[in-house]
């Protein structure tokens, strides 16, 4: 356990050494937030009801989903594919540590840093714009929200690792990976609330793991889910974590069988 804590600390320090790159990344995220906010603000100014959401509802959804996305989507696991292709993985296989736990430790540092900066950015955002945001004051809802975000982190970790393990079988798998990341971004609810989609489409999406990365968490925050919906959502989320963990471990073992340490 101590070694993984040290890995987390090292990753934190590493990110702060390359400050300029990180700051540019955060500036980019802040610009995205501003542009999305203004777009939705003007769309909902003209049309007071957007598929059942009023302006404050949609803005709250947008801000919370972006914040949750900052936490859940920040990951170092995208480097796994190139480490496999370049043979760098060999260095880790020879060490007395679990490669997947190593990356989870790195992810924790990355997420902590991103959330810290996101909080500062949101403070600036709120003080400048005073958006029509609904603050959740129910402590139970907030606790359930935090729990759902933490489970979302674990689910996304396995999804991201699984996508990166394509590196065992393909040197140039960035195309399918790209399309996968884009699609996840779309159907996780990070761009718009998924319940604006037709009911049949939404019903199918609810069975997939992706809405439980962003959409489920944001709806909990907004207090728009009943107790049974929350219970069902958590059950589906936990089942998917189990499934993705199983598939990832299977792919990892299969990948190690074909790994040739090319480049080393």
């Amino acid at each position: 356990m101590k070694k993984y804590i040290q890995i987390t600390k090292n990753t934190w320090d590493e990110a702060l050494i390359y400050r300029t790159s990180f700051i540019f990344y955060r500036v980019r995220e802040l610009l995205k937030l501003f542009s999305l906010y203004f777009l939705w603000y003007f769309v909902t100014s003209q049309n007071k009801d957007f598929f059942g959401y009023d302006q404050s509802g949609i803005i709250t959804y947008l801000l919370i989903s972006t914040f949750v996305g900052d936490f859940i989507y920040s990951t170092r696991t995208t480097a796994i594919a190139s480490e496999i292709n370049e043979g760098i993985l060999t260095n880790f296989l020879l060490r007395p540590l679990s490669y997947l736990k190593y990356y989870f430790a790195r992810d924790l540092a990355d997420k902590a840093l991103n959330v810290l900066f996101a909080l500062g950015e949101y403070a600036i955002f709120f003080s400048l714009l005073h958006p029509p945001f609904i603050f959740q004051t129910n402590p139970i809802s907030l606790m359930i929200f935090v729990a759902s975000v933490l489970l979302g982190v674990i689910l996304y970790y396995f999804i991201s690792v699984l996508i990166s393990l394509i590196g065992f079988w393909s040197n140039e798998g960035w195309g399918p990976r790209f399309i996968f990341y884009q699609t996840i971004g779309f159907i996780s609810g990070s761009l718009f609330p998924l319940d604006v989609l037709p009911k049949s489409v939404f019903a199918i999406l609810e069975l997939l793991p992706f809405p439980y990365l962003i959409f489920f968490q944001t709806k909990i925050y907004q207090g728009q889910l009943s107790g049974s919906d929350i219970g069902r959502g958590f059950l589906i989320l936990i089942i998917w974590i189990g499934i993705m963990c199983g598939i990832t471990m299977w792919a990892w073992k299969k990948g190690l069988h074909v790994y040739t340490a090319q480049g080393r």
Binding site: Y18, T20, S21, F24, Y25, V27, R28, L31, K32, S35, F38, L39, W40, F42, V43, Q46, N47, D49, F50, F51, S170, N171, E172, G173, W174, G175, P176, F178, I179, Q182, T183, F186, L191, F192, V196
Partner: protein, 271 residues
Amino acid sequence: MLLRELDSNMKHYIKVYIRILRINFSEFKAYRVNMFNTFISSTTWGIFAIVGPLLLTSNVTMVVGWKREELLILAAIQSILIGIFDCLFARSLSRLPLYVERGQLDSYLIKPLNDQFLISLHKINYGSLLRSMIGIFFLVYLVNAYKIHVTGLGLVFGVITLLMGLLSLYAIWFISMTLTLWFTRLSNISDLLYTLRGISRYPEQIMKEVSIYVFILFFPLAIVVARPTALLLNKMDNNVILVSFIFTAILLYASHRVWLFALRSYTSASS
């Protein structure tokens, strides 16, 4: 005599550029998997660039004076512009920080060609043209589906201002990438530029509504796509063409001057 020299220079650069296009096309064909990946990513970008506005405008009839179909046309034209920009310039310019960091810029500076020309155009991404094609297809569909009346003059002015928008975007991009000659750690500046470029898909009126300072700050990006679209749809006076022309000329000149000034700081370390 001067004209003859200019003419001969122009022919020489055209020949060089045709050669660059051929080399890049051979490379594109040679790496099949990469070609396939590029097609996938371009198609994905093209589709999502249109699905987003479709969803956003599904429940509204007008935003800041733009009707739904006009906003969709704006998205389609943005796709066309971005596809062409990514094809011609993006790949070349995104390599500049790498060349500066590794001292590889020397090999471009010592060649008997204009270095800005070479740095800006030596890499072509043919796969990005697919995004432009999706944009064109969607544009034609929208014009037919909504029976939008496009005049010949509107089309000509739209294309002219779109070309000027392309050159303006290039100049902004080039100036920003030139900063890496001073600040070598700004290697991910192109990521920031991609995000800023996304602002061009919104009507400029949105920025004016937010704040005049925001509009002034993002003015170049605001007009890159919005003005050609407005001219195509006869939403704007034709004399904006002159303003766009002057603005583009200033930006291109500035990009050249900034580049020459920045080269003084290039030390070719680790080459």
